[in-house]
Symmetry: C2
Subunit: 203 residues, 2 copies
DNA sequence: CAAAATATACCCATTTTTGGGTATTTTCTA
DNA sequence: TAGAAAATACCCAAAAATGGGTATATTTTG
């Protein structure tokens, strides 16, 4: 039997080592590499062509793990990708699914569920964490401009900062921010940051 | 040889399982329990009296892992406690050290360093991650009232919200918030939330 | 193409925040 | 106990944020 080759990308080495420790005990898998950042992960995926990859959805340098997923899909990497997330968030999950991930697991998933998911995905299936109905946030969809502005908001920019950086009117920025606040249900900047964090934005 | 008994508390099950997978391979340690929240961890520490405990410095329900450390020290728990943190932060590290932790490890620590630390601590030593000199933030010390207000700030409260909740003048709250902003170098609420997050506050 | 969604930019008024200041009481600590 | 640190609360004024509105291009999509 040829073992399926697994690749792991996560900025926390302890998680990589932990996953390795767990997977080493399994007969059907072998480990073929690891990375702490998406640049190394991308080049490794291209050269090693693993069967599976477990990728943290959040990675350092503000470049999210989703970017790596998108890159892999665009470059027709055959590797079946499982996203690993801290957040029980429908938006992130659906983003992952829409971009072609084969799975979405939470970091507080136990090893049995992890093993089941890996086996299932290796055999051609998918495994997406089932978000409890009561936690079903109505999925928040931001427009491209809103996403641009969110990036600057979580960098600590004020409205006028943003208007200068984007070369648009201060008033327009205010409108976008109001819409973003309304979508997230936040009534001030502090709350907005909190909501964005819950939804999976890193700052 | 009697194995040292290790306890693990972390809100991410995958980290617990990962650590377990790593530690199981070691001769000198055995695992005696685990928890995803500080309540269970506290009662387990009291009843199981492990030799070592690896505790996530950040835990859910806004009750930090540091609280567990403080509780353990106050209750004269003999267990030698190692704090596990995502943040390379001097304040957190020193808080841990001051409260009697025997170690402070980052989640992106590799397994070799982890093993070395565990062995060293088990033998009566301490192991604190060496924060690079260039990353040495001047340690920020908040006063008790400031910490109270920070808690409410990262819950999304405005100044008047806080003044009502604490039963003090709106103006006093403003002063505290100004001092907090000055200490963190933030010039608005969004920046403050970002800085607090960097320093290790969860919201 | 037509409709819908998005981005643009302004209007208004109110509230909140920000950045200074002073000053008194309380609490901690050397 | 004397001095330092912290908490209290006010002053002022400028800047920013909030919450509501209207209106018009532009872009996307069925």
């Amino acid at each position: 039997m040829n073992k399926k080759r697994i690749y792991i990308a996560d900025d926390h080495q302890i998680i990589i080592d932990g996953l390795k420790g767990l997977i080493i005990g399994l007969d059907e898998f072998s480990l073929c590499g690891e990375a702490n950042d998406i640049e190394k992960a991308a080049s490794d995926l291209a050269s090693l062509k693993p069967d599976l990859a477990i990728i943290d959805i959040r990675m350092p340098n503000s470049t999210e793990g989703l970017k790596l997923l998108q890159w892999a899909v665009k470059n027709k990497i055959s590797t079946r990708i499982v996203m690993l997330s801290m957040h029980q968030d429908l938006r992130l999950l659906q983003d992952a699914k829409n971009w072609g991930a084969k799975g979405y697991l939470l970091k507080n998933t136990g090893k049995e569920e992890l093993f089941y998911a890996l086996r299932h995905i290796a055999e051609g299936g998918t495994y997406f964490f089932e978000i409890p109905a009561n936690d079903l946030q109505t999925e928040i969809v931001f427009t491209p401009k809103e996403l641009e502005i969110i990036k600057l908001v979580i960098a600590g920019c004020s409205s006028s900062d943003i208007s200068h950086k984007l070369g648009i009117s201060d008033e327009t920025v205010k409108v976008h921010r109001r819409n973003i606040r309304n979508k997230t249900g936040a009534s001030n900047m502090a709350e907005l940051l909190i909501r964005l964090n819950e939804i999976g934005y890193t700052f």
